[in-house]
């Protein structure tokens, strides 16, 4: 077993673009769930409209910065459409509504009748050339030791993690303000918070829209990185990975989503490399080969999620007292 290779792969993954994107999605979700108590199971839908909003706009020849704005604006609109009728629902029902809405979006965007607009099942490709033209990094490979990245990937990583830092900073400012305090009040007891004169509905809507817009940034980042967006990528499992990320890092903590994402990707990739090696060596018997590494990893993610919720729901940095676990 080549642990050094696994380590290299794991470190690359922990700082790579997907980790940054998951961190962004988790920052948004943390605002909604960690601070406000909204069980948004449809976060991937915000990523989807961000990615498609940008891709479709850019594909029609409009300038890329405008396309980015359209992607974020689409998320704002989705948040309003979704939130206005549904935020009064209790947590479990909000979960079902949001997951259904995200799935409807995916099915619609994928459908044949809309193929001319969204690319149907084939998606949209090569719409972000301009982004790579802005890359100031000279061409070449950069990195430390065996952990290297091309200038192209490094550029996307730079932009991605900068976004993570900026949005985390934004959340940091907000949760320390009276606005953030109201969110935490809503998380604990909506009716008590109403009895102090706070318009609970308005605050929930703001949290949903802001969290969703940050999620849209994640979607845009992923789509730009792959120069491709396609409906089948934006499945509900993504939202659940984002939940795993924030639970690992610590629900309701600003640093949680960032550390959670890096650790998640570190472990996921490291496990993948090790598993691939073990399976290639028939470590688990001859019936399982390297192609099984992928599903085994995801099964482990499921197991880890369960164990986390049962034994350490506050994750790494959360406080047990503040975690949504036991009924009061």
């Amino acid at each position: 077993m080549d642990f050094s290779q696994a380590l290299v792969d794991a470190v690359r993954a922990a700082v790579g673009v997907p980790a940054a994107a998951y961190a962004l999605a988790a920052v948004g979700l943390n605002l909604q769930f960690g601070y406000t108590g909204l069980l948004n199971f449809g976060q991937v839908g915000f990523l989807l409209v961000g990615a498609y909003g940008t891709a479709i706009t850019a594909d029609h020849g409009l300038p890329l910065p405008l396309a980015f704005l359209v992607g974020v604006a689409a998320a704002v609109v989705l948040g309003l459409i979704l939130g206005l009728p549904t935020l009064r629902l209790r947590a479990e029902y909000l979960a079902i509504v949001t997951i259904s809405a995200a799935e409807i979006l995916r099915l619609v965007v994928r459908s044949r009748p809309l193929e001319g607009f969204t690319g149907g099942a084939f998606g949209i490709r090569e719409f972000a050339d301009a982004f790579y033209n802005w890359n100031p990094i000279p061409s070449g490979e950069y990195g430390v030791g065996n952990v290297t990245f091309s200038d192209r990937t490094l550029w996307v990583m730079l932009v991605g993690w900068t976004l993570v830092a900026l949005t985390s900073g934004l959340i940091f400012l907000l949760v320390r303000s009276p606005w953030g305090r109201v969110l935490r009040g809503i998380r604990d007891d909506e009716n008590a918070t109403r009895s102090f004169g706070k318009n609970v509905f308005a605050f929930k809507l703001q949290s949903l829209v802001l969290g969703g817009s940050i999620g849209a940034l994640a979607g845009i980042l992923l789509a730009v990185d792959a120069q491709f967006t396609n409906a089948d990528y934006w499945q509900s499992i993504f939202t659940f990975f984002a939940f795993t990320v924030i639970i690992i890092g610590g629900v309701g903590r600003v640093i949680g989503p960032v550390v959670g994402s890096m650790l998640f990707w570190f472990l996921l990739q490291g496990a993948d490399t090790l598993l691939q090696q073990a399976l290639a060596d028939s470590f688990f018997g001859s019936k399982l080969g390297p192609t099984e590494a992928g599903p085994i990893r995801f099964a482990l993610v499921g197991l880890v999620l369960m164990l986390l919720m049962i034994f350490r729901p506050q994750g790494l940095f959360g406080s047990r007292a503040e975690t949504l676990i036991e009924e009061p």
Binding site: L89, Y93, I96, V97, I99, V108, F243, A299
Partner: protein, 433 residues
């Protein structure tokens, strides 16, 4: 779940008889040819019993053309391909003679036809509905509705357990889809022959699947849910645990059974029965009968037996039931076992009409949620009503809208119900907001 309009069964019988008479002559020539030329792709184009001649069919592999042919006077066409592999078969619509029409006008290309290294591969381009002998709107709607009833009953059967578990424990189990898959996979394994499994007949294999499902449910309650309930874990945490469980189970299935869709050995292809305007496959009729029988039995059990009364008591008020002498823990365990057994049965039935694969339960999870929420979470009768309504709406929507949107409609109903009448048609719990 795609549906093409079926030609009337009378015409089908005529074609079958004709084929039986003509086949020996055809077989003689075609097998000889096959042996000489290697494998081929072939088909017969018919509409309502009438052959469709003169249609140009092209076979390609990637960008390389392999061969072209035209359907003959009996509608038969055949293109030798020389070797096994994956091919694209395209039908040239412009060569379709007047009076004939493809059943699905968009489906002129079959993008990945897998051919073995020996033998002919038969592919289908269905034709229909060109002349007055085509099925009427009423017939089409009727058959779609019956399809919807069948699908809805399967969903109801699979989902009633979801409702029962919610009613008695308050848990919305996001892993319920995986329990449906479990029954189907176990049944497939027991049914599979040729080295994959024991090769038992489907009836027996299905029963094993159902029993296995029940056992899994019991194990989950004893090993996972009961300890968590004892700790008074909150509902949100339980939901997240069920999501982790779903992820875990689903990918274990993927590892063990791999990703390719499979089907049961028996009842794979059948000829439909006709009762007037209605055209239904025998296995679909069986599904309907079995589902109704099981659901009615369940209903009677819940209403008429002591056990059923206890279950209803626990659903209404667990504390009150406890103090009235009901062993709530035992009742919950029984509910879990029955629920997952039913889910397993739903999976087995689903596997006769759709592919048996690792994520088949996940694919219908949201539809199951739609059914139980529409009917009212906690009410098993509601699950039946909800399932039927969702099934019919989503299947019948194909009459007006492209089939791409069938599931989306079901989900739209779900969202609307939660917004307008969250307790559903027959709801038990009132607090939704």
């Amino acid at each position: 779940m795609g549906r093409w309009v079926r030609p009337r069964a009378g015409a089908t019988r005529f074609v079958l008889v004709l084929a039986l008479l003509v086949a020996p002559a055809l077989l003689r020539t075609s097998t000889a040819a096959a042996q000489a030329e290697g494998p081929a792709i072939t088909g017969r184009l018919v509409q309502n019993g009438k052959p469709v001649p003169g249609v140009k069919i092209t076979v390609k592999r990637g960008r390389t053309p392999i061969g072209t042919t035209t359907s003959d006077a009996t509608g038969i066409w055949r293109v030798p391909v020389g070797a096994g592999g994956t091919y694209q078969v395209t039908l040239d619509r412009k060569t379709i003679p007047k009076g004939f029409k493809l059943a699905d006008a968009d489906r002129t290309t079959l993008p990945s036809v897998v051919v073995q290294s020996e033998g002919d591969k038969f592919v289908l381009f269905p034709f229909g509905e060109a002349g007055p002998s085509g099925p009427s709107d009423f017939e089409e709607l009727l058959n779609l509705a019956v399809g919807g009833i069948k699908f809805g009953l399967i969903v109801a059967l699979a989902a009633v357990g979801l409702s029962l578990v919610f009613g008695t424990t308050g848990l919305i189990n996001f892993a319920h889809g995986e329990l449906v898959t479990f029954g189907a996979l176990i049944a497939w394994y027991v049914n599979a022959s040729g080295g994959d499994g024991p090769g038992a007949p489907l009836l027996f294999a299905g029963a094993v699947g159902v029993v296995a499902g029940g056992l899994l449910g019991g194990a989950l309650d004893l090993g996972l849910w009961r300890p968590l309930r004892r700790r008074r874990t909150g509902t949100i945490a339980l939901i997240v645990v069920s999501i982790g469980l779903a992820l875990f189970l689903r990918h274990i299935y993927l590892v063990i059974f791999k990703g390719n869709p499979r089907s049961f050995e028996q009842f794979a292809t059948q000829q439909p029965w006709t009762l007037g305007p209605l055209s239904i496959l025998p296995k679909d009729a069986v599904i309907i009968v079995v589902s109704v029988a099981v659901l009615v039995t369940l209903g009677l059990l819940l209403q008429r037996t002591k056990l059923g009364t206890a279950v209803r008591a626990v659903t209404d008020d667990p504390d009150l039931a406890e103090s009235s002498g009901v062993d709530v823990k035992r009742i919950i365990l029984m509910v879990w076992i029955v629920s997952t057994a039913l889910a397993g049965l739903g999976g087995v039935l689903l596997g006769t009409t759709e592919a048996v694969q690792w994520d088949m339960g996940l694919r219908i999870l949201l539809v199951m949620f739609a059914a139980v929420i529409l009917g009212g979470l906690g009410s098993s009768f509601g699950a039946i009503v909800g399932g039927l309504v969702i099934g019919v709406i989503s299947e019948v929507s194909a009459f007006w809208f492209p089939t791409d949107y069938k599931v989306a409609f079901a989900l739209l109903v779900l969202i609307l119900v939660l917004l307008v009448r969250p307790q559903g048609i027959l709801g038990v719990r009132e607090r939704v907001g």
